[in-house]
Symmetry: C3
Subunit: 247 residues, 3 copies
């Protein structure tokens, strides 16, 4: 059983954070909210999303699991204005999701969850550095790095208490340093890892410019990005595997 009403804006924001990595996903319809875990085909980027029942106008579920075409579901949600409500109801027999937007009913065929790539286990990593940064600074860094390279180094310099971003191109370089004053918070510890810019660009699309992102970093370790959605009623964690640094 699954029956819920949610604002178009909240649904779109939640789906966006997953669709930047995968086209299809499994959605857990838990009693206290929905959750999604997914990993991209190359096993480089992972997402863990939870959207609590409190993010919905109304919410009833008893623990089912559905498989959905995310692109299609986003297109449907895109028909609604931001302020409009979207009603979702699962028909257990036909395995279809009924989606209502102001009288318009869309019947979405679900996908067999077993046909969707297995959900990843997102490991607990005890990373030495943690940075709390504004979404717009990630946006600036990613866009600037993209002008010169396919890779981006994210690091923390424990001596200077600075978070830095570095991208080295064939002729040009991009460098950004943010200290205590520029950051929302910094738990210093030496860290530097190199990442594929393509993945970080995709993840950046799901991060609001005026949002806060907690970034955990290590030495040649994955980076974890945590941020809230739906005014705190939802949480997103991205994890991105590092590239080997060739010096």
């Amino acid at each position: 059983m699954f029956k819920a009403i949610v604002s178009a804006e909240t649904l779109k924001t939640a789906l966006d954070s997953v669709s930047v990595l995968v086209d299809e996903c499994k959605i857990h319809l838990n009693e206290d909210g929905i959750s999604i875990r997914a990993v991209d085909p190359a096993n480089v980027g992972m997402v863990d999303l939870s959207l609590d029942a409190t993010a919905f106008e109304s919410y009833e579920a008893d623990g089912g699991l559905i498989g959905v075409n995310l692109t299609r579901l986003e297109d449907i949600a895109g028909m609604a204005d931001s302020g409009q409500l979207i009603e979702l109801e699962l028909d257990e027999e036909t395995r279809k999701l009924h989606i209502q937007i102001d009288g318009l009913e869309y019947t979405l065929a679900l996908i067999d969850p077993d046909s969707i790539r297995q959900e990843p286990d997102i490991p607990d990593l005890d990373l030495p550095a943690e940075v709390v940064i504004e979404g717009k600074d990630i946006d600036r860094a990613v866009k600037a790095a993209d002008m010169v390279s396919d890779h981006i180094a994210l690091g923390v310099d424990a001596t200077d208490d600075q978070f830095y971003v570095q991208a080295a191109g064939d002729t040009d370089d991009v460098h950004l340093e943010l200290d205590d004053g520029d950051l929302i918070d910094l738990q210093s510890g030496d860290a530097e890892s190199l990442f594929s810019l393509d993945y970080l660009k995709d993840m950046n699309k799901a991060i609001a410019n005026d949002g806060e992102v907690t970034m955990e970093l290590g030495e040649e370790f994955p980076v974890k990005l945590h941020f809230e959605i739906a005014e705190g009623s939802g949480n997103v964690t991205f994890m991105l595997a590092p590239r080997i640094q060739s010096d």
Copy 2:
């Protein structure tokens, strides 16, 4: 003789309703206003437009007929801001239309009307159902249907006094029901016909979201869409032939 001044907005709106179906058309320069009838090359969609002399700032004509390249005329009108006035004057000798926008003069070569597809006779149909609906509801229905199918069924259920839209795709369906309360008016009578979505999408482009559309429907009959333009000084009728429903 033809000499007229019209606001860019009015001219663009009028031309739009014809150009969604054809690239060239004949324009009747009647004493009391202009009129255009046209049918698309496949004989599926027809338009009948009249724009009264009262829609113009000034208007003089004595019953001539000209052939115009609509795409070109729309591009010219597009150079004017919405509030600007466009002066039109026919040079009978050279068969050119002089178009002035704030000192800028464009001389448009006309097309021999005999080289343009014959104007259709739009038949009087005594259709059993009539729905008066907001433009934005047509827009929603067409866009939603377009996500799942190439066809769209429009119908009226006389028992429930409801107008409905139905589109069936390979896996997904779209359904919209509007009753008395959702519609501006409903003259009930059983009706259902299937239409090509491509044509309805084109016609929808010419319908203002905040406008009222009167829709006449029958059982496997053409649909007629009537709406006003230029604050009531102009009328547009679209007629769209049905597709055979295969069950």
Copy 3:
């Protein structure tokens, strides 16, 4: 030595006026401001730009010369919001330009000035007619002419004291006449020359719609377009060679 701070808007405006003609250019870092002269590969369009030290928030230079990839420099400037400041500093040893935007540092490799096309000498021409015209009128004329032709004639009729624009297509024509009342100023003298519309369209991109342009014209002579940027702290001159008129 070169070290300067300038608003993103001023830098973008200045670079735009050169990048419409060339992708790379030499920049003279004079004591009293920067200057650029460039000619397009076909030797048809030239630009002469000066941006005084007063256009900068701070400015120090001692007469150096650098070669830059304009497209790249514009992309970098494009990362800044209009109101943001851009810091420029030349590293003489590495021949790199350090560009800072709110903590983000971009290191731009410079180009050997000797590898860039030679700077043109923009000749003094004693042209018989001079028109001072609003940028938006140039914009209208160029866009209208572009609908019918690849060429545009610019002329002054000394008898009627009128500036005119004429474009003749295969079937359609565009004509614009502006007299004393429409122009900001007119120093009359017979003049008419034909120009490539592609070049004039590019130059038009660098002209603000609400700006004033002084246009010098002759009989089958180049046209010169002068306008100010950066609230008068910068000057741009375009010179465009005429096409031979075939009658």
